[in-house]
Amino acid sequence: MRIKSSPILLIEDDSVDAMTVRRALKELHVANPLEHAENGEEGLAYLQNAAHAPPCLILLDLNMPVMNGIEFLHAIKALPAFKRIPVIALTTSDEQEDKVESFELGVAGYMRKPVEYRQFVEIIRTIDAYWTISESPL
């Protein structure tokens, strides 16, 4: 990550998937702290809490209870303070509809969670590499 101090916000309901992201980030020596919210609503609550540092990147699952990823995207893109934070969809869904909708809502990427951990690490490595090179709007 280009910005090393800001946290990465992971919005994910599956605890093992969350462990996977955490483990992969650690393995890749990504220094940014990882904040974890279990659904879109918790994610919004995290963002809107002034005591929390704003994240430099949001990793967003799509299929979640209470408020799913697409609903979260609708919500965050309507909030001027947060709409520029890059969001990467990290999901099982291979539905064309989900992909189209996500990009229409301005995601910075759409990654399918692989079943193999090593591939997962490669995905996180790529995300980290990209956001180390890419300028950020924040």
Binding site: D14, D17, T92
Partner: protein
């Protein structure tokens, strides 16, 4: 158009013939015999005559009928509008069949309603002969049929989505099993003996297999869910693309017939068909030198394509089985395969209005054929 005087003459001939054939029996006799309810209605709407079938249908006796008006024989909600219709008909009396496209109902003496079709013919002096057909059983059948079609559509829709939803939800826990097994293998490596490590390796391999199976179900169920527009596809180009993407090993030669046609079909589908047939041909090759040929024969109404290989061949008794979902002819540990490829080929080809089959001589090789209609369905 037959001139009027001829029509009149024909009617007279028919009347004379009818009188002779019926031995002078009159209209009353005919009404008594008729299986359908008949009423003669006066110009004021009163019932003048009713036949026995009308008694049976409405439940009134002949005497009772004579005190009724035609409006008494229909449900209340139709009565107000009927007077106008009657007046309208009196202005232009002609044979007419009511009910087509209209929902008509009769009212029995006991208050029960029944669905009906009615035909009316003018008699004389503004009198009208009405024949009332009880169509309630037909209506019931139609309703039943409509309900069943609706139900079928629902079930079908549900089935289509079911495979998708289920396989989708199976993925998340499977991924967790895969990750956890991977971490145990990595983190506990020193504490596991050789057998434990082997078990974990098998566990992870099975996770991959199940993952591939679920992907197969997803791919299979997606066919027909999302429709793509049919495009003109240059098969020469498509075949080249597919061969490039499969990158066959150097010992395998894939030859493509010159001048394959340009067809109209869904591109992704055709690509998948070729890809699955070719990748099977490559995967199962058992000779030091593989030869695969793509050909096309033009038929009257379709193109017949073939993919021929010099692989192990397939015994005729397996010809049906191999097109079924999840059917493979080799243990999965020997050739990693989901058994979805040919089912997908079959589904795509048939949805495009074509056919798929094979010829094979065990030991020599197989040729898979599929057709694509020249006019896109």
């Amino acid at each position: 158009m037959i001139p009027g005087f001829i029509v009149a003459k024909l009617r007279i001939i028919r009347m004379i013939a009818a009188r002779d054939i019926l031995n002078g029996r009159d209209a009353c006799w005919l009404m008594d015999c008729a299986a359908d309810a008949m009423l003669v209605i006066g110009s004021d709407g009163r019932v003048l005559l009713a036949n026995p079938a009308a008694e049976r249908l409405f439940g009134y006796s002949l005497d009772e009928f004579c005190g009724l008006s035609v409006e008494d024989l229909m449900p209340r909600r139709f009565r107000a509008a009927h007077g106008d219709k009657r007046a309208d008909y009196a202005g232009r009396p002609e044979y007419r069949r009511m009910g087509s496209g209209l929902e008509l109902y009769g009212l029995r003496k006991d208050g029960g309603e029944f669905a009906t079709d009615i035909s009316i013919s003018p008699v004389e002096n503004g009198h009208v002969l009405a024949t009332i057909y009880d169509v309630s059983s037909r209506k019931r059948l139609e309703e039943e049929q409509k309900r069943m079609i609706h139900e079928l559509e629902n079930v079908n829709e549900e089935l289509k989505n079911f495979a998708y939803v289920v396989s989708h939800d199976l993925k998340a826990p499977l991924r967790a099993i895969g990750s956890l097994a991977d971490w145990i293998a990595a983190d506990q490596h020193d504490r596991l003996d050789a057998e434990g490590q082997e078990h974990l390796r098998l566990l992870i391999q099975r996770v991959r297999r199940l993952d591939a199976l679920i992907d197969g179900v997803l791919r299979y169920s997606r066919i027909g869910r999302a429709h793509e527009a049919a495009n003109a596809i240059d098969l020469n180009e498509l075949a080249r693309e597919v061969i490039d993407s499969l990158a066959p090993p150097p010992e395998v030669t894939v030859s493509v017939a010159a001048d394959l046609p340009t067809i109209r079909a869904e591109k992704t589908g055709m690509q998948q068909v070729l890809q699955n047939l070719l990748s099977n041909a490559i995967r199962y090759l058992d000779k030091p030198e593989g030869r695969i040929g793509i050909n096309c024969a033009e038929q009257a109404d379709c193109w017949q394509f073939s993919v021929a290989d010099n692989g192990p061949g397939i015994e005729p008794r397996h010809f049906e089985r191999i097109f079924q979902l999840f059917q493979t002819l080799h243990p999965r540990d020997r050739v990693e395969s989901t058994g979805v490829g040919l089912s997908i080929v079959k589904k795509i080809v048939e949805q495009n209005g074509g056919r798929v089959w094979l010829e094979s001589s065990p030991g020599q090789g197989s040729t898979f054929y599929f057709t694509v209609p020249k006019t896109y369905p």
